[in-house]
Symmetry: D2
Subunit: 450 residues, 4 copies
């Protein structure tokens, strides 16, 4: 998510550049909406940012001071055009374009309530429900800010929102728990709001601050004209999704006071303390295990080596199936570096184990490449429970840690030892963060209401 | 380049998978030719391997035991369809499909000689000249192997070739100096020939050996039926292009007895010995400076840190120009990791400096991110002379090291110190390689004949 | 518009074939929605029918007994994806997919009323308003048929609708005036509803009857289960848009009891009676003036000749502008047949004159090709007033007949004489049609309410 | 084929416009080559003219005074990129770009002769052989014109050629029999050469004259600098392919003194005289039977009616196969106009019967639409023999007239009577043409040499 409120008419181009920097947060589709007079013009489609936008179509919507954009990461599997963001909604006295990151747990209930009042829906996503609820309240309150606040107050679960209003405002909202990150940046041309600070850097904008949990911030003409913590934290055990540090965010982002790189490095150090092992070298699984591997090596004193070379071009390539090849698909993407592995006992650091199938292939590949022993170290605790707040993790029955004990997992993936960081260790690694964490994917929680 | 001679009819699919693994050697276009009866069928187009080939078009040419493929890396700037490889050529008694890596220095002369005999040409590349010369001699010798040997004997400069002949043979040739790498792999279904060993790994094939400089290898029905060093080394000062270890090859490849990873690691260690510096940390420029940085850190005892995060999605994306952003283009691709740089004196390791403009931007970015000092270390000697053997380096007048002394370059790029590895140091780092090296881009050489 | 209710699961494929036959009614975009369980799945995009649908994406939605489809012909100039039909809408107790042809004159008012009740909108088209109104009433009435009737009763202007309801029904509606055509066809596999009967022929379905003005027809399991004229005709001077016979429909369609071909032929005959002229030959402007030219020739006894050859491949091709060519754009599309024109006095028959610019170019081209005289005959009366019911005609100020008298138009286009059919003559030509006509584009009418 | 020699630098744009007008002569691929300094730059690809060329790629090659272009109509089924024209060939002292229409019967022999001299080939088309032969002689003669003449003299069969030479000339050649048409046009900016005169009209150029059989014309700087009939007519019974008038050419073209429209009209009149019938109306099969139908109606005095409506959008669309439809594919493209057919005895005029399957479907469709009788009249004699000169007609065994007698064909297609024009009648219809005709597809001829 990215929003821009500028003094100059180049909000769409800036938003495009910002979205390019946050492509890792979603690759299914993308869109940008701008304010054009009292209208909102939106271009969105399935595909990567640089596939959907061309100099030509971007040039057509570029002349605006206000824009919001979004990269879609499908949490539902249904990724039709109709579910792409921003959602542009017209109500009696105005228009909004809404973008949303997270998962609203009472979206079904709200949708039914709105439908009972006669409203109807075209898409199948939470965001349409949120946009509709906001528009409903904006109409009744006759004021965009009041409407957004009323609507946000009804939402449960995880939501960060950026609302472009035809009242010429950008309204940023972060839920009371602060599940998902949101930050503000300033540049010579105005203010921007982004999911991750790396997008500010890419645009040459300066980090100002994170949006606080429960806060509503209104930006007009490149200046903050309202900022107040309004939404309460409904679940005392909730907080920032710790997987932002473990996996989601780019390591060059800073979230709620903590560098993602540093967090991962600390996780690696903590892992080394919690699960030391006598080995010859440490290596990380590219790309998300690399920083923790550096931390593990540093703390353990073991040398860090590159264990794999990742094919950077393979992306969405298909592999042609032949009988002549053995297990090519994994080696195609991640080829072990025999020179660093031959005859060695290796500590292999990865960020998580979900189904276990990839881990098994990677361990097998290391052993085939000559590794004598493979000691798997995971920089997050066992992933046992489905997430209701926006992480597109498999159904619970597919989570290997939901069904198996540590020893069984170790044997299944073929590792010589297996160590997960403890929840306490993970929290300690992230202790500089200003917020408490949501760790329900490790600890479990009540049933989701739908 | 990739060639497959199998017992089973799946040569095209295997070649596709092999080309996917060597996409780093060329991104302009790609092609695969297979033997179909006595015909040769070829599909080639501009674009990446996974853009040019689909399951459908690959399926159409898949049923063959013999295939050759090629990824094009334009050394001339002219990248029309007409210059794509393989080149399929019909002569009086047969057909060949030829792929070529390198640069034949007497191609112009050979072309004129052939034209004087009445031959004509459709394209503008060396490969057409080579294919035409081979076909010419195949016709006169009435034998593909003899023809290839006669032709190869006339060629000067750098050339590795894989020739698919309608005589149901695959003929691999490496010039007498061994400028470019070429290796043979064996799998359950037959033999393959590839520019780099990483392609064998990806296909699950086992490395057998490198093709020797000057050697001609003939493969039929998945078996080697001829192997002999035939071509002489014409220039005693020539050898394997040392830039294969410095930059071109993938680190998981093994070339002429030396692991590319190990070579780069050794370069880093050598750099640390030749240009030590008191600093706080070492970091490499992603991706090609990373292995040397590991070596530098190891030898110097300085901690290795990640200095940048590279946007893996940006590829051929355009950046939308806005006034609101400062120097976004570099930061879009390579964002400094402030947490690791703030207040520190950094050793920055990269593989080479060509024009100097990128180095300048990277050093500037590090300093803006808080680095106190930046000590640039380059894992290759100053790049002073144009290469006539296949490296697509800028014209000599654009090479910063051709025009400026060390101190001037250091000042231009804004580094606090600058150290290049010595030629001797580089050779020592690669001493395990079985071949002597060509280092003429560092030392210069006579005028190229055209 | 096309809808299918079949006994067998192939509604989407049949609808695709039907839409192919009605591509002439709209080329901007197309879509098909099917019932899948209680869900409605929709695929739509900008482009021609054969560009948007592939065997693959059609195969995915093919297994359904119920489908509706639509070809979009933008009446507003805004042709974003968001305005494409079918519109899929979910309300409290069900879902509908709606397609619409026509122009609802009180859509703005209805939209404001719905917004005042809290509803909001994402698109900018009438169809969204209609779909929303229907869903609103379906929810309140707890029955799709009752909801559709309530909604249709509120609509003013021109509308034919096909509604696919999750109650497994297809509901077809034609407004009380019958502005736009709609007919029912039967085949071995069930019933279909189409804008034009040519779509029935193409699918091998038999024409059953036209939907009557004001009628609502409900089809379930391939059978009509409800049929009743319910909607009243609000404007006594309204009726079927006579331009369906003049221009819109395909000549092989039968609308409300009259063959379009026959209607055009009769217009030509009537023109010959109203505006006889001594000339050598008659020719029509391809394609829409051809049938009237046949009628004119037949009535006048003058020989019919081909005056032009139309380039059938030019479609949306661009013409490259060069200085070397004179007026190439028109001749590129419509090249006069010199052999038939040289030295002759020609009666040129076309269906209408809108701005007059094309007519001027065509007359000029005929004269350059050697025509001695050009007598223009138009098979519709002077087009003076903008249409509020769905014809995408230029703004009134651009209508040449709105600003100029007959003689001035004749001089402007360079014709030697000019004759328009009279309103009475046109009606007489169409007298076999079962319905009265709307002829307000010729006669004018009150101000449209928005 | 189209070639332009202009005073101004816009040859490529003009050639593009010319190719657009001749899209009917080939839809598989297209290309344009221009002279740029002493280089020839070529852009070609598979697809329609407006798909292959964009304003952008055309703009890049637009600045030239000399261009040649070609639309490919595959006569072999192999339509790979490698066989597209123009063929650009470099020889010792120059370059040519060659385009060719026709079929050279001794291409195989010439290819073997050239290969015996050491030349080799990349493609599988005659045009490569021709280009190679020309280049061979240009090299030996040290002069493009002399080389072209020497080469053309060796060719047998049908060939019209336009050669762009790096000597800044356009050389047009027509074989001694004049099998294929070729004409010259003049405009304010220079001279152009085109296969059909309709391309001159489209560009606003004036028809100057046809190239004579056996003539070689050299154009330089927009002026003819050489024109001489040089090539002899090798086969006295040969001549202009009469199918150019029957089917290939656009009716608005003028070929060798005869308007194609007039020729077809005369064929219809002749048919009416040779095969009169008592019937109610005449109709033509769109599009190629329409002109002959007009002639038949005129001569017979029977009224002309439209028998079908052709779907102009269907082009290369696929039809989705469903069980619910009966024989949709034909009706999709050509829907009978019931209003004109019901209860009537119809004379149906078409240009030819090849396999007979389409004729059978069309007759069936007419009868299903109510025609009482269908009398088929064909404006060419029975098509009995394969053509070796460039008409891509089925193999002989598939030609219905090669296997069946008239009565059997009539019964097979379901017509009530069947009449073909006689060879004499066809020649009489075309008697104004300045050339004798090749009619070997009707009369047979010796075995082709390959």
């Amino acid at each position: 998510m990215f929003g821009a409120s500028l003094f100059v008419q180049e909000a769409a181009g800036l938003t495009y550049n910002g979205l390019l920097s946050m492509q890792h947060r979603g690759q299914e589709g993308t869109g940008i909406a701008v304010l054009s007079g009292s209208n909102i013009v939106c271009h969105k489609d399935t595909g990567l940012v640089n596939e959907v936008f061309t100099r030509e179509n971007l040039g057509k919507i570029h002349k605006s001071k206000l824009a919001v954009g979004h990269n879609r990461y499908s949490t539902t599997g249904r990724s039709a055009h109709i579910n792409l963001q921003p959602f542009v909604t017209e109500y009696l006295t105005g228009r909004i374009a809404a973008v949303h990151n997270g998962n609203v747990t009472n979206a079904g209930k709200i949708k039914r309530q709105l439908m009972a009042r006669g409203l109807n829906f075209n898409a199948t996503s939470d965001t349409e429900v949120i946009a509709s609820l906001i528009a409903y309240h904006c109409m009744r309150e006759k004021d965009a800010l009041k409407g957004v606040i009323r609507a946000a107050d009804e939402l449960e679960g995880a939501f960060t929102l950026i609302i472009l209003s035809s009242e010429k405002k950008l309204i940023a909202v972060r839920d009371g728990s602060g599940y998902r990150p949101l930050c503000i940046g300033r540049g010579p041309a105005g203010l921007v709001v982004a999911s991750e600070s790396c997008a500010l850097d890419s645009c040459g904008f300066r980090f100002v601050r994170d949006v606080r949990p429960g806060e509503v911030v209104v930006i007009e003409n490149g200046e903050i004209i309202f900022e107040e913590v309004i939404l309460e934290k409904k679940d005392p055990s909730s907080g920032l999704c710790i997987f932002e540090y473990v996996y989601f965010a780019r390591p060059d982002s800073n979230i709620d006071g903590l560098s993602v790189y540093e967090a991962r490095y600390n996780m690696g150090r903590m892992l080394a303390r919690e699960h030391p092992v006598t080995a010859d070298a440490v290596c990380g699984v590219p790309d998300s295990g690399l920083e923790a591997a550096i931390g593990y090596a540093s703390e353990s004193g073991l040398p860090l080596v590159s264990g794999f070379v990742k094919n950077r071009y393979i992306g969405r390539s298909f592999i042609f199936p032949t009988q002549s090849e053995r297990e090519s698909a994994v080696k195609m993407k991640l080829n072990p570096l025999r020179a660093n592995l031959q005859g060695k006992s290796i500590v292999l650091v990865d960020d998580s184990i979900v189904r276990g199938t990839t881990s098994e292939k990677i361990v097998t590949a290391l052993k085939q490449a000559g590794a004598r022993e493979v000691h798997m170290r995971i920089s997050s605790p066992p992933f046992r429970y489905a997430c209701y707040f926006g992480t597109d993790i498999d159904t619970e029955e597919n989570l290997i840690a939901n069904k198996m004990e540590l020893a069984a997992i170790r044997d299944k993936i073929g590792a010589d030892s297996l160590g997960y960081i403890s929840i306490g260790g993970l929290k300690a690694a992230c202790e500089k963060a200003a917020l408490p964490f949501c760790t329900k994917c490790f600890t479990g929680h009540g049933q989701k209401e739908r």
